[in-house]
Structures are given as structure tokens and as C-alpha cells.
């Protein structure tokens, strides 16, 4: 074994197959190897078997699962080891980082102790030495003031910092390999890149091979050396990251890349892949992707294709028709970015401000009273929404973006409550002031304002059939009952579902289909305003594009106005006309999507845009990023001045004298020169004369 050992395979998986009871073949023969210091990204949608691969490698599958093949860690076979033997390897030679850092850390122990415990179990170090090492590790993963914070408990850390602690724990014993299962999925976009950097640095420091399991193609692009794409339990393409992104040869990979909404707007509209992944307990013969493949040939339906080398060395794809995939554009042709005529002809010509406002929110506030100690004393006000104003005109889409906890969902709920805002402000819906509504007026207004929630798995009553779900709004608002069945069929057709879906229960539908049902329910009464709360965030990438297409098409056809709440800036760019960026309960920047994305004026907007990964390894690695520091929950809460200055990169660059303004005064929203509909709340905004 050479001393540096780079390139020698640390983790080797041969022909791994996992079968869950009863007869669900989650993984069907996957092989890969990861060398020392290398990163392999395993990419796939839900149901592709990627998590089963991770669990099989870690030996964490449920007892009755059948696992065959071989998993070797530096030559040692791991499959078939007893749980006790695996426990000695896990956490020492084989480390893991899971998705949810909140549930992976014990809430009752200090994080330093938890890391020290991991060290002591495997190395038998003394308590003092383990503590010292824990502080060292916390420092390595970029936790400021590590010695003090080692004594803090998990709830005193923000999500990003907790994930750093998990990484520190993973590398505590200099593992040979780290298995990371969606390590950044639960984090805000501004933190994802930072956590990945930490993982990379920590992995390099330990010289570990990293197996990165994810659904996010954009994230892997800048992180992995090699990528393995999984579909229906099989590897369908693998190769160097550049080959996969620049020269994909398997139609599924091409489709995945094409369906991603991209911030850099390279190459037009995302294209959805039609259909849904096959059921793993009843796989048809032939290529599992054939039913969704635009270039499937006759032989595709006979036998499942093997992984064969294609193109450059190290690149392999499981496709019979690789000659046809030489030009990806021919497989999933991109339609050029074309703006659908969004509103009625006469409306489009009119200026924005002359159109009717369907929603007008003025100076909305919403506070939560929080108790700072257990005796109920020292009550503080959490300003969830702190003076938000915006309006939406007929036929327009406003994207409301911001990190989790910025108050965007609270704004939505305040609007939907249709009552007098409890902590001040004014909401006008279709010209009616919400404060003056009585029960009947509210019900009448609900007809025109509908909502689609994020998770179609929970927004549809699991006990009801689709037909009953769609009939509910109709029945509620006294739609003639003899016409209801026809209207239900009409709605199903409108959202691209089959008439037969009416008799299904929601569990009988795929995620994309469920979201279509939720959209159909919202449209049943032909509303003029639809509030969309992260409508595609819970969906697979290949399905997202289809739902977004549907939303856009419906808006054009029915003249809807959308309030589109999202955290994904790439999706918002695709859908919205205007965008409002929220930070800590305020809108820091609002304006036309084109203008805001082209030259963001507020430093927070700049940072958000910077953080969105681009699914292109070359571009992604070239990008210089402005990093937003993460504010821990126990940091002193700012009450005066600009609330963003703790994290503001621009503030750091200012002179002491200029900073005084930020410290002292709360910036008010000001318009930007030459753009009437653009507002920004920053003392030193770009493009604003001071």
C-alpha cells in the first residue's frame, strides 16, 4: 500500500443487491469503487435505491432484508458481519453523515461530549485527550470559538452548524470512508455550499473516500469526482463528473439534466420526463426506463441493458441506443425560452400599475411571544413578519423567497386567515379589506383565493378518493350537484390526469400526480388568485418541470395570479414576473425578476443568488462565492439598525465610519433609480444614489 494511497480503492462494492420484504427489489446489482480521497456521487430520484445502497454499505438495513453481493472496505468484506463487528467498524473506519442533523445528535448532551464519546469508544483515549481532540475537530469544521461552543447543546446551534458537528463526529476517528446521505438537503441554500466545503476539507484531512448520496444534480456537480446515476435499483450511467454533465449518454441522465431549472438560464426551458419510475415489486422485462424514453427502440423492451463503456475512458452507460445519445439535444429537445402571453391581450399591453390589484398587503406585522426562560419571565417578541408590503396585480406571479424561518409562510397564513391582521397591517384581497369581512364574506372570498401546499403527501386527505377531494370545494360553494361529476372530469383533464384517477385514493398516485390533484382542487372554483407554498419542493426533479409547466400553462389559460412562495431561486426565476426577497420578517428587495437576477442590489439577494448551485462542474468550480456567515440562535439579537449586518458581506467591506449608519439606522425601502417597481432596503444598495 503506497503511503499516500490516492487512487487505491478503499471502498469497493460488487454486484450489490438489496431485496426488501416482500419482494421489493430496491437495488439490483450495483458495482462501484471509491478511492482514497475521492468523492463518488450517487444520484437518483426517490425510489431509485440510492438510500438502500448507503444503508447496505453501512450495514444498517432492517433485519429481514436480503442483501447479496460484496462490500469491501480496504479489502475486508463487510456483508455478513455481525452487528457487533459492524459496530466496531462503523464510526471508526466507516463514518456517516445523515440528512437531519437535529435528530442525529442527542439533545441532552453537549456536542463536545458527543464527539469525545465517539472518539473514546473506538480509540480508548482518555477523557481529557478526547475532549481536546473534539475541540480541535470543531475548529476544523469551522465552528468559531470552538472551545466554548464544545460545551453547548445541539439546540444552541443552527442547522448548518449542527451538520458541521456531525461532520466533525464523522471524521473524529480518521475514517477510511464516509457515507453521506443527502447531507445538505435539510439546509438553506446559503449554507449548503459551506457545509459541502467543510465535508470536503474534513474528508481530505482524514484522507477518506466519500460516498455522497443525493438527489441534487446541481450540488454534486461542484463536489464529486465521479458520478453514478441510479434508476430503478440499477446503475444506469457512471463516469467522471465532467463526462456525466457535459456528455451524458444515458437518456435518463440527459432527461434529469434537462429537467433542472437553471439559474444561469443556459439553454431554455426545463423539459419534464414523462411518466413515473416503475414499481420495484413488479418490474417489466427490458430497460426500466424504456416506457419514459423518447428514443427507445424495439430491443429495449426485451432485455435489460448492461453497463457498457461509451465515449471517454471510465464512462459507462446502460443503454442500447447510445449512438442516438451522442447529441443530447436530440433526445430531449429543449424548447427555447418563450414567454407565454401571460394575461389577456388587452391587459398585457397595459402598464403594471394600471392593472387591478388582486392582493395588496400593507405593512403587515405578526409577532410571536416567546418565553426566554422556563419561569415565563423575560418575554421577548419574535417578529416573524415585521412590516411587509407588496401587491400582486391581475395575471401576475410574485415569487416570495427567503431562507427557512424568514417569515414567508407566516405571510401566507396571515393572508389565508382572511381576518384583521393581529399585530397590525392591512390585507386587501380583490379590493376587499380582510378586516371588514364577516363569515359569509370570507367564504365568498375564499372562492377566489385558493392555496396549494408544499407536500402533496399531506395536503390531500388520505381517506378520501380523488373524486371526493375535487368535489369538496364545489359542494362547499353550492355548485349544482348534478354537474359535479362532469366538472371533476374536466378538472382532471385540465391538470393532465386520466379520468380513471377519480376513483383512486391519494396513496395510489405518484407525487407529481398528487400535486396535480392538489392544483386541480385549487382551481375547481376558478379563483383569480392562487397562493402556492413551495409547490414543487417536495417533488422529484424529473416531475418538477412538468408541474411548473402546468402551473404556467394554467396561468396563461385562466388568467390566474400567483403568489409563489419558494426557497429555490432557480424555480422562481422560471415562474415569476416579480420577486420579493425576505430576510427576518422583512422584504429587503422587490422588483422584476429579470432586473433582480441580472443585478441584485441588496447584499442578501446577491448572496442567495451566489449560493444556488449550477449543474455544470466546470462553471460551478469556476464560480467565486460570497459566503454568508451563519448566525447561531444564541447570538445577541439585533434590535436597532440593519438586521442583516451580522451576516452582511458588504458591511464587512465598509469603513468604520460608513458602518455607523448600518448600526444606527434601520434601512427603509427605497426605489432604485430608473426602475419604478423596484425597491431595496439597504443603506448601501447597488444602483441607489445616497
Amino acid at each position: 500500500m503506497n503511503p499516500r494511497g490516492i487512487g487505491t480503492n478503499v471502498l469497493e462494492v460488487q454486484d450489490l443487491a438489496v431485496t426488501y420484504r416482500p419482494d421489493v427489489r430496491a437495488v439490483r446489482g450495483v458495482s462501484f469503487s471509491v478511492g482514497r480521497g475521492q468523492v463518488l456521487g450517487v444520484v437518483g430520484e426517490s425510489g431509485s435505491g440510492k438510500t438502500a445502497v448507503a444503508l447496505a454499505v453501512l450495514g444498517l438495513l432492517p433485519d429481514r432484508t436480503e442483501v447479496t453481493g460484496s462490500v469491501r472496505l480496504r479489502g475486508r468484506e463487510l456483508l455478513g458481519l455481525s452487528d457487533g463487528e459492524m459496530s466496531r467498524i462503523r464510526g471508526k473506519d466507516l463514518a456517516m453523515v445523515f440528512q437531519d442533523p437535529l435528530s442525529s445528535l442527542t439533545p441532552v448532551h453537549a456536542v463536545g461530549d458527543q464527539i469525545a464519546e465517539a472518539i473514546r469508544i473506538h480509540s480508548g483515549a482518555t477523557r481529557g485527550a478526547a475532549r481536546a481532540r473534539a475541540v480541535e475537530l470543531l475548529d476544523l469544521v469551522g465552528i468559531p470559538d470552538a472551545a466554548r461552543r464544545a460545551r453547548a447543546h445541539p439546540h444552541e446551534f443552527s442547522g448548518g452548524m449542527r451538520q458541521r458537528v456531525m461532520i466533525a463526529m464523522a471524521v473524529a476517528n480518521d475514517p477510511l470512508a464516509i457515507v453521506a446521505d443527502e447531507p445538505t438537503t435539510a439546509l438553506d441554500v446559503t449554507l449548503q455550499a459551506q457545509v459541502l466545503d467543510v465535508l470536503r476539507t474534513a474528508g481530505e484531512a482524514a484522507g477518506a473516500a466519500i460516498l455522497m448520496i443525493t438527489h441534487d444534480l446541481g450540488m454534486v456537480a461542484g463536489f464529486a469526482d465521479r458520478v453514478l446515476v441510479m434508476y430503478a435499483g440499477r446503475a444506469v450511467e457512471s463516469g467522471q463528473v465532467e463526462d456525466i454533465y457535459r456528455r451524458p449518454r444515458m437518456p435518463y441522465t440527459i432527461g434529469l439534466l434537462r429537467s433542472l431549472p437553471r439559474l444561469d438560464d443556459a439553454g431554455g426551458r426545463p423539459v419534464p420526463i414523462d411518466g413515473a419510475p416503475p414499481q420495484l415489486n413488479a418490474l417489466p422485462p427490458g430497460c426500466p426506463f424504456a416506457p419514459r424514453c423518447p428514443i427507445a427502440v424495439g430491443a429495449c423492451w426485451d432485455d435489460e441493458p448492461e453497463m457498457l463503456p461509451v465515449g471517454r475512458p471510465g464512462h459507462a452507460a446502460a443503454c442500447l441506443n447510445t449512438p442516438a445519445t451522442r447529441d443530447p439535444d436530440a433526445v430531449f429537445p429543449l424548447t427555447p425560452t418563450e414567454l407565454l402571453p401571460p394575461i389577456g391581450e388587452d391587459d398585457a399591453a397595459r402598464a403594471r400599475t394600471s392593472r387591478e390589484a388582486v392582493l395588496d398587503v400593507k405593512d403587515l406585522h405578526r409577532f410571536h411571544v416567546e418565553q426566554r426562560n422556563s419561569f415565563g419571565r423575560g418575554k421577548g417578541l419574535l417578529r416573524a413578519v415585521d412590516g411587509v408590503s407588496f401587491d400582486i396585480r391581475a395575471g401576475e406571479t410574485l415569487g416570495l423567497v427567503g431562507e427557512s424561518g424568514c417569515g414567508k409562510t407566516t405571510v401566507l397564513m396571515e393572508i389565508l386567515a382572511m381576518a384583521r391582521p393581529r399585530n397590525g397591517g392591512r390585507i386587501e384581497i380583490l379590493g376587499e379589506d380582510s378586516a371588514g369581512l364577516d363569515g359569509a364574506g370570507r367564504k365568498a372570498l375564499r372562492r377566489n383565493v385558493q392555496v396549494v401546499f408544499q407536500d402533496p403527501f399531506s395536503s390531500l386527505d388520505p381517506r378520501m378518493r380523488v373524486a371526493a377531494i375535487l368535489a369538496e370545494p364545489l359542494r362547499t360553494h353550492a355548485f349544482p350537484s348534478e354537474h359535479i361529476p362532469d366538472r371533476v372530469q374536466e378538472l382532471l383533464k385540465l391538470v393532465g390526469l386520466e379520468p380513471s384517477h377519480a376513483n383512486r385514493h391519494p396513496y395510489g398516485l405518484s407525487g407529481g400526480q398528487r400535486q396535480r390533484v392538489a392544483i386541480a382542487r385549487a382551481l375547481a372554483l376558478e379563483p383569480s388568485l392562487v397562493l402556492l407554498d413551495e409547490p414543487v419542493a417536495a417533488l422529484d426533479v424529473s416531475v418538477q418541470a412538468g408541474v411548473i409547466d402546468l402551473l404556467e400553462e394554467l396561468r396563461a389559460r385562466l388568467g390566474l395570479a400567483y403568489l409563489f412562495v419558494a426557497h429555490d431561486l432557480a424555480v422562481v426565476r422560471r415562474v415569476a414576473d416579480r420577486i420579493a426577497v425576505m430576510h427576518r420578517g422583512r422584504i429587503v428587495e422587490i422588483g422584476d425578476v429579470e432586473h433582480v437576477y441580472e443585478d441584485p442590489a441588496h447584499p442578501y439577494t446577491c448572496a442567495l443568488l451566489d449560493a444556488v448551485p449550477i449543474p455544470d462542474p466546470v462553471l460551478e468550480r469556476k464560480r467565486g462565492r460570497v459566503r454568508l456567515p451563519d448566525v447561531p440562535p444564541d447570538a445577541p439579537r439585533l434590535e436597532t439598525g440593519c438586521l442583516f449586518r451580522q451576516r452582511c458581506p458588504r458591511y464587512l467591506a465598509l469603513s468604520e465610519a460608513s458602518r455607523a449608519l448600518c448600526d444606527r439606522e434601520d434601512p427603509v425601502s427605497r426605489s432604485i433609480d430608473g426602475e419604478p417597481d423596484r425597491m431595496v432596503a439597504c443603506h448601501y444598495a447597488l444602483g441607489v444614489s445616497t
Binding site: 438489496v18 426488501y20 421489493v24 430496491a26 437495488v27 426517490s46 425510489g47 431509485s48 435505491g49 440510492k50 438510500t51 438502500a52 444503508l55 440528512q99 435499483g233 413515473a276 419510475p277 416503475p278 414499481q279 420495484l280 415489486n281 389565508l416 370570507r442 367564504k443 375564499r446 372562492r447 385558493q450 392555496v451 401546499f453 407536500d455 403527501f457 399531506s458 395536503s459 390531500l460 386527505d461 388520505p462 381517506r463 378520501m464 369538496e472 370545494p473 362547499t476 360553494h477 383512486r504 385514493h505 396513496y507 395510489g508 398516485l509 405518484s510 407525487g511 392538489a518 382542487r521
Partner: protein
């Protein structure tokens, strides 16, 4: 579990339970028609005689026919048990969902009432009130039901509070669906498993409580009879003259078994997610290899109560 696995799981149990219950009702109400003896007839030629062709279940100390007596008791017990169960579970469902869904002062007032009833010595109150209300079996049903629902109501309230925040309930509210309708359509169905199991348990609890009361003379009074009084009267002699006690106790067990089978089966039949194993389901979600999605999909239903099919 043989034929039951086809179609919906739990169907077999529900049908078996319903069938058994119907048989028991038939026995209780049609049985006396074929019996040569009335329940209050006394056969002076046979005291404490064991089961025979003349007296199918034997006779008592005073020469009454045990078969006729047991069936007469079973009529009362069936009616009392079932109506108490329906009444108390229904009351628990109404109070619990209203308190949980509306919250605020309605919640506080109702839960205050629940706590008050919980601390009252129910047996004593029933003993005092039962004669005061005339001593009829209807009064007994009302009293038993009034003291059986509180714990369930608290459970229902707790589950409603969590269901109220579910997105499908929010969605209904934002559609403009009224509160009553939302509770009936979107909250109650998800409590069905709890309520069914609770009702089944209440049947047995009510029958047993009634027999306890009857033993002290506060329940069904002689000359009327119930399974509880039949069993109570045979106490002491049960080991020597098992027919006095065995038939009544066996029928009591059968009633409880039938009701439990029915409730258990119904719970599974009413749960659409359990029916997903049929070939018509095209879901990718529930059978995915990724634990995360399968978990969130299957877990989106109501709090699970494990089936006890085996």
C-alpha cells in the same frame, strides 16, 4: 386469515364478527320461542338438575330453567352493552373533537367538565341515582354511558389537536368548508380506529359494570335479569354446579369476542391505506426503496394502531 387476505385485509374478521353477533342476537331473541320453559317458569320436579333433554342448560336452585334465564339475561346485556358503547363513544367523539378543533374557551370548559366527571366516584353516584331515576334499564344505560366516555374524550381531543394542523384540514378550511363538516369529513375518519376499538372495549366494560351494579342491587333488578345477575346469583356454587355459571359466562365471552372481531375488522376495512396491496395501486411511493419517501407517505395517515390479526 385465509379468505380474508383477498380483497381488503380485515374483511374476513369483520364478516366473522358480524355473523357471530347476528347469531347471538338470534339466539337471545328467537331462542325463548323454541324453549319449552319460560324464564319465570319454575319446575318443581327439578331443582339444581344438570343439563338434560328436559332442561338444556340445567336448572337453578329454585327450579328455573337456566337456558331460558340465560337467554333472557343475554337480551338485556346485549342491549345495554351495545347502547352504552355507542352512546359513550359517540359522546367522547363529539366532546373530544369539538374541544380539540375549536380550542380556546370551548376546550377549557369541556375539559374542565371531563376532569370533574373523572374525579366523581362513579359507582356511588350510579348507586344513588339509579333508584332515583326509576331503576329501569334505560336509566342504567344513560348512567353507564355518562361515566365511560371521559378518558376517550381526552384521547380524541389530543389527536384532534394534532390533526387540526394537518395540511388537508387546513386545505379544507381555506376552501371555505365549515367547521362541522371539516370535523365530520376530515377529522373523524382519522379517529375511526381509536373510536372503534374504544366502542368494542366499552361493550365489555358496560356489561361487566352492569353485572357489578346488579350484584349490589343497583342494576337490573329481579325478577328481571341480565347475564351479570345470572352469573352473580351462581357465585359460590359455580364449582359444584358449573352449568349455573358456565353457559352465561361463555355467552358473555362470545359477545365480547364478536364485538371485538367486528370492530377490529372494520377498522382495517375502513383504512384505505391498508387496501393498497391490491394490484390496482400504481403508487411508486409506498414501495420505494428510499425509506424517506415511503415513511412520509405511509406516515401521513392517522396514528397507527397495530392490527392484532394473528
Amino acid at each position: 386469515m385465509t379468505g380474508a387476505m383477498r380483497g381488503r385485509p380485515g374483511r374476513g374478521r369483520a364478516i366473522a364478527g358480524a355473523f357471530l353477533l347476528v347469531l347471538l342476537f338470534l339466539l337471545a331473541f328467537a331462542g325463548p320461542l323454541v324453549s319449552p320453559w319460560g324464564w319465570d317458569d319454575i319446575d318443581f320436579t327439578a331443582f339444581l338438575s344438570p343439563p338434560s333433554a328436559r332442561h338444556w342448560f340445567g336448572t337453578t336452585q329454585s327450579g328455573r330453567d337456566v337456558f331460558a334465564l340465560t337467554l333472557r339475561g343475554m337480551q338485556k346485556s346485549l342491549i345495554i352493552g351495545l347502547s352504552v358503547a355507542v352512546l359513550s363513544t359517540g359522546l367522547a367523539a363529539v366532546v373530544g373533537t369539538v374541544a380539540g378543533y375549536f380550542g380556546g374557551w370551548a376546550d377549557r370548559a369541556l375539559m374542565w367538565g371531563v376532569d370533574l366527571l373523572l374525579v366523581l366516584p362513579s359507582f356511588l353516584v350510579m348507586a344513588v341515582l339509579s333508584p332515583a331515576l326509576g331503576g329501569g334499564w334505560q336509566a342504567l344505560v344513560a348512567l353507564l354511558a355518562a361515566f365511560l366516555w371521559m378518558v376517550t374524550a381526552r384521547m380524541v381531543r389530543g389527536m384532534t389537536v394534532s390533526l387540526r394542523e394537518r395540511e388537508w384540514v387546513l386545505a379544507a378550511r381555506f376552501l371555505g368548508v365549515g367547521a362541522t363538516r371539516t370535523i365530520v369529513r376530515h377529522v373523524l375518519p382519522h379517529l375511526a380506529s381509536l373510536l372503534l376499538v374504544d366502542a368494542a372495549v366499552n361493550v365489555s366494560v358496560a356489561i361487566l359494570a352492569e353485572s357489578g351494579l346488579s350484584y349490589f342491587g343497583f342494576g337490573v333488578r329481579p325478577p328481571d335479569t341480565s347475564l351479570g345477575t345470572v352469573i352473580a346469583e351462581s357465585r359460590g356454587a359455580a364449582t359444584v354446579f358449573p352449568w349455573l355459571f358456565g353457559f352465561a359466562a361463555g355467552l358473555l365471552v362470545l359477545i365480547v369476542l364478536a364485538v371485538n372481531l367486528l370492530a377490529d375488522g372494520l377498522r382495517d376495512v375502513l383504512d384505505p391505506q391498508l387496501a393498497a396491496s391490491g394490484p390496482s395501486a400504481e403508487a411508486e411511493a409506498e414501495v420505494t426503496a428510499d425509506g424517506a419517501r415511503a415513511g412520509s407517505g405511509a406516515g401521513s395517515g392517522e396514528p397507527a394502531v397495530e392490527g392484532s390479526a394473528g
